[in-house]
C-alpha cells in the first residue's frame, strides 16, 4: 500500500463519544496523527440521518488513504446502521474509478470475554473492503469491551496495556503503508480481565441497574410467552 496521508475514523457505535469503539478508534487515530497523518472522524449513526450527512460520508471516504472502522459487535455481526453505511459505500464505489491503494482496517469489540466472537464480523469487513475496492489491512478484535466502557485508553491504567500496545504497533505499521502486524492482533485479543471476573462484575452490574430501576424481581420476565 502507498504511504498514507489522510486517515478517516468511522465510529459505528450508537453511543458515539461515550463508546468503547470511539475510545479505541480515537487512540489509534491520535497515534497516526503523531506520525504526521491528518485524521477526521465521522459517527456513522449521525451521518446516516440526513442526505447531506451521507453525501459528506461518501466524499470523505473517497478522499481517505486509510479507513478505520471501529464498531461494537451486535448479535455476532456489525450493527445494522454500520451495514447500511457499508451497503451505500460499496454501491457508490463500485460505480466509481477507485483511487488505487486506499486501505481499510477494522477495530471490533464485543461484550463477551472472548475476542473470538468477533471473527465473523471481521470476515464481513474484509469482504466489504474487496467489494469497495479498498485494500484490506487487517482487523483487531477485542473481547470484554465492557471493561473499557467508553473511557479514554490513557485513563484505564494497567488493564489497557495490551490494547494500547496493539494500537501503537498498528499505528507504526499503517504509517509506513503496511498491514496490521500479527503481534498487534495477538495483543489486542488478550483478555482485559479474567473471564470469570468479567462475567461476575457484569452480572452484578445488571442486578444493580435493575434494582435502581425498581425491576429487580422482573429481570427474568417473559412478556411474550408464558
Amino acid at each position: 500500500m502507498m504511504i498514507p496521508y489522510r486517515a478517516l475514523l468511522l465510529v459505528g457505535s450508537p453511543k458515539g463519544p461515550q463508546s468503547t469503539s470511539e475510545a479505541l478508534g480515537t487512540y489509534l487515530a491520535e497515534r497516526l496523527r503523531d506520525r504526521g497523518l491528518q485524521f477526521q472522524k465521522i459517527r456513522i449513526h449521525s451521518a446516516l440521518r440526513t442526505e447531506k450527512g451521507i453525501q459528506s460520508l461518501f466524499e470523505t471516504v473517497d478522499r481517505a488513504d486509510i479507513l478505520i472502522l471501529a464498531f461494537p459487535l451486535y448479535v455476532d455481526c456489525l450493527p445494522a446502521a454500520v451495514i447500511r453505511a457499508l451497503e451505500l459505500m460499496a454501491r457508490r464505489r463500485k460505480s466509481l474509478p477507485g483511487r488505487a491503494g486506499a486501505g481499510m482496517i477494522a477495530l471490533v469489540n464485543c461484550g463477551f470475554p472472548e475476542a473470538r466472537h468477533n471473527e465473523t464480523a471481521l470476515e464481513i469487513c474484509r469482504s466489504f473492503a474487496s467489494e469497495a475496492k479498498l485494500v484490506w489491512l487487517g482487523g483487531l478484535s477485542l473481547g470484554g469491551g465492557g471493561a473499557i466502557s467508553g473511557k479514554p485508553l490513557n485513563r484505564i491504567g494497567a488493564m489497557g496495556r495490551n490494547v494500547r500496545s496493539a494500537l501503537d504497533l498498528t499505528a507504526i505499521a499503517l504509517a509506513e503503508g503496511k498491514a496490521v502486524p500479527p503481534e498487534a492482533i495477538e495483543q489486542m485479543s488478550r483478555s482485559l480481565v479474567p473471564g470469570w471476573l468479567y462475567t461476575l462484575i457484569g452480572s452484578i452490574g445488571w442486578i444493580h441497574k435493575a434494582w435502581r430501576s425498581g425491576v429487580l424481581t422482573k429481570l427474568n420476565d417473559r412478556p411474550y410467552r408464558p
Binding site: 456489525l78 466489504f128 412478556p223
Partner: protein, 189 residues
C-alpha cells in the same frame, strides 16, 4: 409450525418475489401457517445499545416501534426464516435492524456454551431458524461466511434447529422448490 418470514430485501429490489411465493406455497402444503414481514416497510429504529430492555423494561425494548412487534412475533413462532440478499457474506441491513432488536428475548446473564460465554435463554422455547441468502454469482467465501454467521446466531438465540441455503438470481424455479422442500424438511425432523 407457525412460521415467520423476515424479508430483508431493500425497497425497489424485487428479486425475492418468486422464491418467496414458492416458500409460502410449500409452507401451506405442509399446513404451516405463515406470515411474511417486509422489513423495509416497517419503522424499526436501530438498536441504541442501551441494554434497558434488560434493566428497565425486562424482556421488551424501550423503543415502542415495529421492532417490538417483530420481537414478539419471533418469540411466538416455531420457525423463523431470514430471507436476505447475501451482503458481504452476511445479512442485509434490513434483516440486521430487526435482528439487533431481538436481544430482549435473551437474558442479560451469562452461560458457557461450547466453551464460550454467551447469554442465557429467557424463554424455554425458541423457534427453529432458516437463513436463505440470495446470491448474484457470489463466491464460496461469502457463502461460507453466511453459514458461519447463522451458526453463531443459532448459539446466541438458542434456536433448536437450523438450516441454510442459497438461491441464485434467476435460478430455475423447479430447483428453487426442491431446495425449499429440503430446508423445511431439515427443520421438521
Amino acid at each position: 409450525m407457525r412460521t415467520l418470514i423476515l424479508n430483508g430485501f431493500h425497497r425497489g429490489d424485487s428479486r425475492w418475489q418468486q422464491a418467496s411465493a414458492t416458500l409460502s406455497e410449500e409452507l401451506k402444503n405442509r399446513g404451516w401457517p405463515c406470515e411474511e414481514i417486509r422489513l423495509c416497510e416497517m419503522d424499526i429504529a436501530n438498536c441504541a445499545g442501551c441494554f434497558r430492555c434488560w434493566t428497565k423494561t425486562p424482556g421488551v425494548c424501550i423503543v415502542d416501534d415495529a421492532g417490538r412487534e417483530v420481537a414478539s412475533r419471533f418469540a411466538g413462532s416455531d420457525l423463523v426464516v431470514f430471507f436476505s440478499p447475501v451482503t458481504f457474506g452476511g445479512y442485509s441491513s434490513e434483516i440486521k435492524k430487526a435482528l439487533d432488536r431481538l436481544i430482549p428475548l435473551i437474558s442479560p446473564f451469562f452461560k458457557k456454551i461450547q466453551g464460550e460465554v454467551h447469554h442465557r435463554r429467557r424463554y424455554d422455547r425458541y423457534p427453529a431458524l432458516i437463513a436463505i441468502g440470495m446470491t448474484e454469482g457470489d463466491g464460496e467465501e461469502k457463502k461460507r461466511i453466511f453459514r458461519k454467521l447463522l451458526q453463531r446466531n443459532v448459539i446466541h438465540l438458542h434456536n433448536p434447529k437450523s438450516a441454510d441455503g442459497f438461491i441464485a438470481e434467476g435460478e430455475d424455479p423447479i430447483l428453487v422448490r426442491e431446495k425449499v422442500r429440503g430446508w423445511l424438511q431439515e427443520v421438521a425432523r
